[in-house]
Amino acid sequence: MPRFLLHRLLQGLVSIVGASIVIFLIARLSGDPILILLPNDASPQLIAETKRNLGLDLPLWHQYLIFAWNALGGDFGRSYRWQMPALQLILDRLPATIELAICGLVFSVAIAVPVGVLSAVRPGGWTDRFGRVFAMLGQAMPAFWVGLLLILFFAVELNWLPAFGYGGVSHIIMPAIALGWYPVAAQTRIVRSAMRDVLDSDHIRLSRALGTPEHWIVWKYALRNAAVPLLTMLGVYFAAMLGGAFVVETIFAWPGVGRTVVEAVFSRDFPVVQAGVLFTSILFVLSNLLVDLAYGIVDPRIRADR
């Protein structure tokens, strides 16, 4: 187990470093922050001096090494725009984004599992049809549309939920739905097909042959087996939600990393972009690691393989 974990961590580290290089390079292709930073009539000397101060005059690989070395020490540089440590800017926003991503994921799983299971058990049934239409809507409507419709209906019309902001449970319901609706379709599909495969399997047939009640077969025996492929995807979905949250964050005025990074890109605030993306990569690696660990809980065979 520890050896396996170590291996995964090392691989994750490679990914994180790779991601940081990629982001570092493309970010620098996207334009020069100096002109955004400096006053309109900045002299060429001032421009040169500022470049030197920010280290932007060095060759790219050198800049990257400096960045990487400092990052190892927890220093991701200062935001050009916010004039504060980029790390702090990102870390302050991170909890809200993680909370949103987790709730979005919980929403999608909470819909996908029952719908997927029931539509595998009774294809063409009520849940199957309704569930698929529901899932399809999430897949065909961009999050900003979903978000606005939710606000118009649940906040403005019904006044059940607050229209915006970060706070208690009631605040997170609509953002979580707006974020979590999109992957419902894909997750339902996974659960449904995994359930169909499991329900076709020998051990389920044996359970039936031994008189196991159907609800027991479906919700206890088969679901746990079907959870494995869903789990595999959850790590990837979690990362996608972290990264894709900016639309929802904007719509619901949610104080998260997504918006911060988007604005940082617009203002070529490289340290913030780098720190933001790096932390999302780290979360991606960590969430995949968690998924790997969760496998072991759900599937004892995998436990043994390590």
């Binding site: 050896r3 396996f4 393989d305 390590r306």
Partner: protein, 315 residues
């Protein structure tokens, strides 16, 4: 013609080293049929894969006409690939579902020579005829055939480049009884007609006895007993061979099966027992068995068995 000299194959996995094959030697004369017999996981398929160059031995050498196939010059290797062909167990997995039968059969030919279109078609028709299929079969896809017919196609494909050695990996175990007899007969006919040499991998002892001229019984990567089929089956000297033979249920209600011959189950190649790997299951095990690996012992001409009991009695 084919000789294995103390070949070993170890796989390194996260849980440790799997000793799939541990120093197996055998030799296969031209036109002979050698059967590798053993229970699942004993390493017989790995040996076949090494002969087919699908795996590289970790140690030892496989020699074809005296030449080590691992160090063969390019040209000889190319020839080797033509001269050695294979038929695998599953007739459903061994034919590419996207290719027509004619193309499937043509492939091994085209890998080695460039006959003209007409010559190629003729060769295809020929081999199809040998396996008892009409020439028209070349235009169809594999899924249009039954299991037995597919295995015939697989045989035709293997025959197409005119090989000299055929590796048959459980060639009939996926087939029904009535079809099995057809395919076995076909394989024998082909051998007789074209003077082929067979290396057959099987777990069905009755089939092996029926089909092969010599046999090597493998247990956990080592040869337990080997020799000409008749003497080995008539007078098995290794307790494992004895147990195997005793365990075969015969289509005879008067035959009584003996459960006692081999207790327990085959150990894992990951943690093989010390000394003679069979000792935990052996009814005759004694002190020497866990202590050291028994060397092969010649009990008769060409008949060897690796058992400490034989050492004791003959010492």
């Amino acid at each position: 013609m084919l000789e294995a000299d103390a070949i070993t194959k170890h796989y390194r996995t996260s849980r440790g080293t799997v000793r799939a094959v541990e120093g197996v030697s055998f030799s296969l004369p031209k036109r002979g049929t050698l059967a590798l017999v053993g229970e699942s996981g004993c390493g017989k398929t790995t040996i076949a894969k090494m002969v087919l160059l699908l795996e590289r031995p970790s140690g030892g050498a496989i020699r074809f006409e005296g030449q080590d196939i691992a160090t063969m010059p390019r040209l000889a290797l190319k020839a080797y690939r033509r001269r050695v062909q294979a038929v695998f167990q599953d007739p459903y997995a061994s034919l590419n579902p996207r290719l027509r039968v004619g193309r499937i059969i043509a492939e091994p030919i085209l890998a080695h020579e460039r006959p003209g279109r007409a010559a190629l078609d003729k060769r295809i028709a020929e081999v199809l005829d040998i396996v008892g299929l009409p020439a028209a079969a070349a235009r169809l896809y594999p899924h249009e055939f039954s299991g037995g017919q597919r295995q015939r196609i697989a045989i035709a494909r293997a025959l197409a480049p005119r090989p000299e050695l055929m590796v048959l990996d459980e060639p009939v175990s996926a087939l029904d009884v009535s079809i099995r007899a057809q395919v076995l007969n076909l394989l024998q006919d082909i051998q007789d007609e074209y003077g082929l040499t067979y290396l057959i991998i099987a777990h069905d002892l009755a089939l092996v006895q029926h089909f092969s001229s010599s046999v090597a019984v493998i247990y956990l990567g080592r040869v337990a007993e080997a020799g000409p089929t008749g003497p080995v089956f008539a007078d098995p000297r290794h307790p494992y061979t004895q147990a195997l033979l005793a365990a075969v249920p015969l289509p005879d209600p008067d035959h009584v099966l003996s459960e006692a011959a081999a207790a327990g189950e085959i150990a894992s190649a990951l943690h093989p027992p010390s000394g003679c790997a069979f000792h935990p299951r052996c009814p005759h095990a004694f002190a020497a068995c866990p202590a050291s690996v028994p060397p092969p012992h010649a009990v008769a001409d060409g008949h060897i068995a690796a058992c400490h009991l034989l050492q004791e009695t003959h010492a």
